[in-house]
């Protein structure tokens, strides 16, 4: 029997392992077992007041707290029938720009690039290419500064509330970021060019791509769910087409379509489905890259993130230049019982929330579907494609190869992938 034991995937939110079952030299089973703790958030949100929800759900993730805030307020505003004013929407997009910038800069340079360049970590990359890492840190910092200016701090920023913001941020502190943003926009264009030179493993997969789509903007918060099959789904109907189920071997729920298929959310999906809505600089970067869309190589999600970086630096500059807040920062709320769904595009993909509230604004039910849960079956399927190579590799190489693929997804459990448990068992 061939058994390769690897210790558990380390984690930010959980731990997991990869198991490969081999029979007659064929891979017959592959499992990415996630031992992350159960999503207690859906449980302890019940009984909380609705205005606590954005700040509680933001704790689900330290890298994408804004995504949780935005999806939650979208759902609760739907439940209450609240319309937000355009200035609030613009500020929310700006906040999202900050999050995309810090998340994508981190992933491109400090998570995935070391894999592609044969470096064990960003620390080793910094030793051989310090200017690259230094620029990456400066690019990331600007995203953090946007979050700090709007939300008081970069990790778990506050200020987002149902109906808008608790207060308008100081415009001058945002405008002070413009010089750095202009620098970063050029650096992001360089990042796209550099990303095209990286040695990506050959792996092409026919995904069903799923993302929020809007005809007139690169969708973050408004729009409908678009599949690369052509199917469009409103947010209210999301759960009729996209399901989560509990898989016994794992604490993580797995997403699948109504016809039991896997699908992919995230930057590849967004770029492939929404590239026509990119802003001019990102459009130019995409054209100069001379890529054949749709991109189907999961490792090349790095290129998609680089193009999105250009887009969000450009958008941040535009939004800040046009930021002249006036009037109340948030709409008045009339509490009533209701139910609402909301969604937004987290850096890692579509994030869906649904809440039921009572007449006092207390949460009676919460459902949160993160992008990682939706991608987990797809990650497993991709690993299945890779598995025949893995079983013939030495243990260490097989582990790193599997880690690299998982890391290219930038899942919220990716913090686990620096310590992957790989077990290959021959089933006789």
């Amino acid at each position: 029997m061939k058994t390769i034991e690897v210790p558990a995937l380390a984690r930010v939110e959980g731990e997991g392992g990869l198991y490969i079952g081999v029979k007659d030299n064929q891979v017959v089973e592959i499992r990415l077992d996630i031992y992350e703790p159960p999503r207690l958030f859906e449980g302890f949100l019940v009984g909380r007041f609705l205005q606590e929800v954005p700040d509680i759900t933001s704790r689900i993730c330290g890298i994408c707290p804004v995504a949780y805030q935005m999806s939650s307020v979208a759902a609760l505003e739907t439940a209450l029938g609240v319309e937000i004013v355009p200035q609030v929407y613009a500020l929310r997009r700006l906040m999202y720009c900050g999050e995309y910038i810090e998340s994508h800069a981190l992933h491109i340079y400090l998570l995935q690039a070391p894999d592609l360049l044969g470096q064990p970590s960003a620390l080793d990359l910094a030793a051989i290419a310090p200017d690259v890492v230094r620029n990456a840190l400066r690019m990331k910092k600007i995203g953090n500064e946007i979050l700090k200016a709007i939300g008081g701090r970069s990790v778990h920023p506050v200020n987002v509330c149902v109906g808008g913001f608790y207060r308008w941020p100081d415009a001058s502190s945002l405008k002070a970021l413009l010089p750095d943003l202009e620098w970063a926009l050029e650096a992001a264009k360089d990042t796209v060019r550099w990303s095209l030179t990286l040695p990506y493993p050959d792996l092409e997969i026919d995904y069903e791509f799923v993302a929020i789509h809007h005809a007139e903007e690169y969708a973050l918060m408004h729009g409908e769910v678009l599949s690369s099959t052509g199917k469009k789904t409103s947010v209210a109907d999301y759960e009729m087409r996209y399901f989560e189920e509990h898989v016994q071997r794992s604490n993580a729920l797995h997403g699948h379509t109504a016809n039991n298929g896997t699908y992919l959310v995230g930057p590849l999906a967004r770029l492939n489905l929404n590239h026509a809505q990119l802003l001019p600089a990102a459009q130019a970067a995409l054209e100069d890259a001379n890529l054949k869309l749709p991109l189907k190589n999961p490792y090349k999600s790095l290129i998609a993130r680089a193009i999105e970086l250009v887009n969000f630096y450009e958008e941040a500059i535009q939004l800040i230049k046009n930021f002249y807040p006036e009037g109340p920062a948030h709409a008045a709320l009339t509490l009533k019982a209701g139910e609402g769904s909301g969604m937004s595009e987290a850096p890692r993909g579509l994030l869906y929330h649904r809440y039921k509230i009572d007449e006092h604004g207390m949460v009676k039910f919460a459902k949160i579907v993160p992008p990682t849960a939706q991608n987990l079956p797809r990650i497993e399927a991709d690993l299945l494609v890779l598995a025949p190579k893995l079983v013939n590799m030495q243990q260490d190489l097989a582990t790193i190869t599997a880690e690299h693929l998982v890391r290219s997804y930038d899942p919220c459990i990716s913090c686990a992938t620096h310590f992957l448990t790989l077990r290959v068992e021959s089933m006789e």
């Binding site: 207690l40 910094a126 990790v155 890391r407």
Partner: protein, 158 residues
């Protein structure tokens, strides 16, 4: 002298909140000193730690640590020890204090001039939603006092 006092941790993860709680208690116990220094209470700052340290002459970090030592043990790592510290795992997404400082020392010469002291409190239970382990809770006040002494020493040495 520009001094930073930084509590690091995760408020929802049991003993990992001890850094945050310690700095909060220190602020409450020593408000006059707190007014003279920069204080941050930071949930998993990651690489943003480097931004917090920018333009600081000295920094006192308080964080939970894992160690075979009993829960509640307080470990002091001074500037020389932190400079030479090599993180045991080259993590990707999980930029802890050690990894971040290691990166910072490689990237920014100014960081070496910043006198950084880390007070690590050995934790036991880092589970989601867990309370502080009693042995960890009982040392918070003591560590707040240690932080105050460290600051006074820095101010005297300037």
């Amino acid at each position: 002298m520009n001094i930073l006092v930084l509590g690091i941790g995760q408020s929802l993860r049991g003993d990992d909140s001890v850094g945050l709680e310690t700095v909060r208690l220190w602020q409450a116990q020593y408000p006059l000193t707190a007014a003279k220094v920069k204080t941050e209470i930071s949930e998993i700052p990651g690489i943003a730690l480097l931004d917090s340290l920018a333009e600081m002459d000295a920094a006192i970090l308080v964080d939970a640590v894992r160690s075979p030592a009993p829960a509640g043990t307080v470990i002091r790592l001074g500037p020389d020890e932190l400079v030479s510290f090599t993180p045991e795992t080259a993590v990707s997404h999980g930029w802890g204090v050690a990894e971040t400082l290691h990166l910072g020392y490689a990237m920014y010469p100014w960081l070496v001039k910043c006198r950084i002291t880390l007070f690590g409190i050995v934790g036991r239970n880092f589970g989601l939603g867990a309370p502080l382990t009693p042995q960890v809770r009982t040392v918070i006040l003591k560590v707040a006092g240690i932080v105050e002494s460290e600051i006074q020493s820095l101010m005297t040495d300037k």
